[in-house]
């Protein structure tokens, strides 16, 4: 994508308040400059808007670059901060409606409701999205940034911090949902002179872009969350393991780290205390398996990125055999808010054992493709139909895939189930990192299972036999079914093999790889049987050749 700024090429052609006027702005236009809108020339929109506002003699307005506004399907997005008026699909050569809106803003204007996509969300990890300039430390500070770390360093003991996280009920947002407070306590109590904090930003699920958006929209927040974690577990060094395919996220992280170091929020003696913590970035080289924590550690150490059996867990024996805390981007992003607003506030959101909020990347055949944050326990229907706006062209909903390649497909009959770690597992799926791929009647569920199996076999690191060989064999059996050449014996073989790959594989990649097969078999067995017995694909996706005499 040539429009995307390459890593290292500065994005800092700033067109903000100062250039247009003196003093506080009467009206501000927020232009989304996260990857999705940027790829649709939103930076040109920012520049052009500044120029046009100046030409129109508007000396008391500001144009500001912000992080992801969320409604990615309708980008580039521009929002008038004071009124909440949202402009969709703004082209650089047609910014006049925005200029007109800026003109009309009057002091005392109230924000108008923006419709269910925005109103139904509860923003915690993404609270600064669409509001702060991702590269500006000042902007982050003005939005309450580093208040949490200041409180931690000046008022709290590490035990209090850990207890707070435990009390908030926060669980790992990378997918498995391990209680974050417990993990922090384990690392804090583990023996070791040196300890590390690692942020897992190796987001790789197809259709998932939560972590990327957080890194692009609010990078300082990750640094603050990591610093709080480091204080809580007595670590002094941190790593952010980010995939190299996210150049904008990496560039913004680099900027944030540099500016935070310069301002004394990273490095030795943070905020004039004795607390020392610094962060380095490590880039992944495109291996999905490096999101698995032991493979990630191997990769950070400079070795081949392959997992190893646990125990020992990284909390006890991790990076360079030292106790290591590994949390996902979104987990760290939730931490400053929890510290600032109190564990009780966070724990009051959510349902059952799943507290707080969860960020989801809505993708697929849904009208409002984009990034949303909702309270745990919200029904799937509310997310997909109220927030997501339903299915494109009003076609019938068929299934939603959650949890990425380790997840499953949930059919229409369960649309009213709440989204929690437990309920998704009960439905045969998985929370995962937060990808939600919506499918309508044009999707063949066997083909979907085959797609995810193809992904897993391609991403298998090759270390353990069941994953290396078994995922390919599962794919071959699915391929046989989609070509209309399979028998019922092949279907039985598929189920048997899926169980073996699940139980015998070394890490989560192989153990989770059969899940899309299990869940599609659970809810859409009739589609499998149509391919096998009737030799037809109900969705009309698979090219089934008419039976030939010779098996070829």
């Amino acid at each position: 994508m040539s429009e995307m700024p390459a890593a290292g090429r500065p994005l800092r052609r700033r067109v903000i308040t100062e250039e247009v006027h003196e003093g506080p702005a009467r009206a501000t236009a927020y232009v989304c400059e996260a990857a999705s809108c940027l790829s649709a020339q939103s930076h040109d929109v920012t520049v052009r808007l500044g120029e046009r506002a100046a030409e129109a003699g508007l000396t008391d307005v500001a144009v500001k670059r912000v992080g992801c506004i969320g409604l990615c399907a309708a980008g580039p997005l521009v929002e008038i901060a004071e009124t909440g008026q949202l402009f969709e699909r703004v082209r650089p050569d047609d910014v006049e409606p925005v200029v007109g809106a800026l003109k009309r803003v009057k002091p005392g204007d109230a924000r108008r409701p923006q419709g269910p996509f925005f109103e139904k969300q509860v923003r915690v990890a993404t609270e600064n999205f669409g509001r702060v300039d991702p590269e500006s430390l000042d902007d982050y500070l003005a939005a309450g940034g580093y208040e949490a770390l200041r409180r931690v360093l000046s008022e709290m003991t590490s035990t209090e911090v850990r207890d707070g996280i435990t009390g908030s009920g926060l669980r790992g947002r990378g997918g498995a949902g391990y209680p974050t407070g417990l993990k922090w306590t384990t690392v804090a109590k583990a023996q070791g002179a040196q300890k590390y904090v690692i942020c897992n930003a190796d987001e790789g699920d197809p259709g998932a872009f939560m972590d990327r958006s957080v890194l692009e929209s609010d990078p300082y927040r990750i640094l603050e969350g990591m610093a709080i974690a480091a204080f809580a577990v007595h670590a002094t060094e941190g790593y952010i393991y980010c995939r190299a395919e996210y150049p904008l996220a990496v560039a913004r992280l680099r900027t944030a780290i540099r500016l935070a170091q310069r301002a004394g929020y990273l490095g030795a003696g943070i905020m004039d205390t004795s607390f020392t913590f610094d962060v380095q970035i490590r880039l992944g080289a495109g291996a999905f398996v490096c999101g698995e924590e032991t493979a990630l550690i191997a990769s950070v150490e400079g070795r081949r990125g392959t997992p190893r059996p646990r125990p020992p867990y990284p909390a006890v024996q991790g990076l360079w055999d030292c106790p290591t805390l590994i949390n996902n981007v979104e987990t760290f992003a939730s931490v400053p808010a929890i510290v600032r607003r109190g564990p009780g506030w966070y724990a009051a959101i959510g349902a059952g054992k799943s507290r707080g909020t969860k960020v989801f990347a809505l993708a697929g055949r849904v009208v409002n493709t984009g990034l949303v944050e909702v309270p745990m326990g919200m029904a799937l229907r509310e997310i997909i139909f109220d927030i997501g706006g339903g299915i494109i062209d009003g076609r019938p909903f068929k299934a939603v895939q959650t949890g990425g390649p380790s997840g499953g497909c949930i059919p229409a009959e369960h649309l009213d189930k709440p989204v929690t770690y437990e309920s998704l597992i009960e439905l045969g799926s998985f929370m995962g990192s937060g990808g939600m791929i919506v499918m309508d009647d044009t999707s063949c569920m066997v083909d979907v299972a085959k797609y995810f199996q193809d992904f897993c076999r391609d991403e298998s690191c090759g270390k353990c036999t069941p994953c290396r060989v078994g995922t390919t064999q599962l794919w071959m059996l699915l391929d046989l079914i989609t070509r209309g050449e399979a028998t019922l014996a092949d279907l039985a073989q598929l189920e048997r093999l899926a169980g073996i790959v699940q139980r015998m594989s070394l890490c989560g990649l192989g153990q989770g790889a059969p899940n899309p097969i299990f869940s599609t078999l659970r809810y859409f067995r009739d589609e499998y049987l149509a391919h096998i017995v009737e030799k037809r694909c109900p969705a009309g996706v698979c090219a089934i050749s008419q039976p030939a005499e010779v098996m070829a």
Binding site: S460, T465, R468, V469, T472, Q473, L480, I500
Partner: protein
């Protein structure tokens, strides 16, 4: 002083020292657990998955070669289900590349063959992958037929940990994974290989073999020689 733990394997009371693995304690007590990546004398990696056992109280299976014993541990090393799983994993090894016992130098003294026989595997039901795989016969004395490699990485570990040459390593991933010499150059051009032949000796199949040996004429020693080499190394302070 070493702590001694007591545990049960398949209902038998056994004892072992702290730090020992389930595999080691089972071996000492004459309980055979299959395993093809395990090799006494080099580090374990828990990758072949043949030695998976059940441990009471844990929903997940564990690799016996990587699991250290604990007091009161109850290990099930043999069950109907484990047998089915192990057969399937062995089958995967046969189906991954192109194993043709009839024309293999290791025929009749092959650990993969032995494993299949011990598990009562009489045929293969899983899909055969049949990839096109290379042979490297550029070395003066030895050759590698990747068709027969099961990626146990014994060669990689023995070359690194015992010989210290680190000629062998791994490249690519998934099904494309291959052991390689130096940085993927032909074995015969390797500048680090000492031609010691340890990799050939530890290879469980006919993937690594001495040139000039006929079908079924492999020459691997049955005696585990790595523990002796380690003793010698330690005595000489190497």
């Amino acid at each position: 002083m070493t702590t001694v733990y007591t545990l049960t394997i398949d209902g038998r009371d056994v004892a072992g020292s702290e730090g020992q693995t389930v595999m080691e304690v089972a071996e000492e007590n004459g309980i055979a657990i299959p395993g093809l990546c395990h090799l006494e004398g080099v580090h374990d990696r828990g990758a072949c998955r043949l030695c998976m056992v059940e441990i009471a109280g844990s929903p997940k299976l564990a690799a016996a070669c990587m699991t250290t014993i604990a007091e009161g541990m109850e290990v099930t090393a043999h069950s109907e289900q484990l047998l089915e799983y192990r057969r399937a994993v062995t089958e995967m090894m046969f189906m991954e590349r192109n194993h043709v016992c009839a024309v293999c130098v290791a025929n009749n003294h092959c650990e993969l063959q032995d494993t299949a026989a011990a598990l009562g595997l009489t045929h293969f039901d899983l899909p055969r992958i049949s990839p096109k795989v290379d042979i490297d016969a550029s070395h003066r004395l030895f050759a590698i037929d990747h068709n027969r490699c099961i990626l146990c990485l014994r060669c990689v570990r023995v070359c690194d940990e015992i010989e210290g040459a680190h000629t062998w390593d791994i490249m690519h991933r998934g099904l494309e994974t291959r052991v390689q010499t130096d940085m993927g150059i032909p074995w015969g051009e390797s500048t680090t290989c000492t031609s010691c032949g340890k990799c050939v000796q530890v290879c469980p199949t006919g993937a690594l073999f001495e040139k000039g040996r006929p079908v079924a004429g492999g020459s691997k020693t049955k005696r585990p020689f790595l523990p002796w080499l380690k003793v010698v190394q330690e005595e000489r302070g190497l």
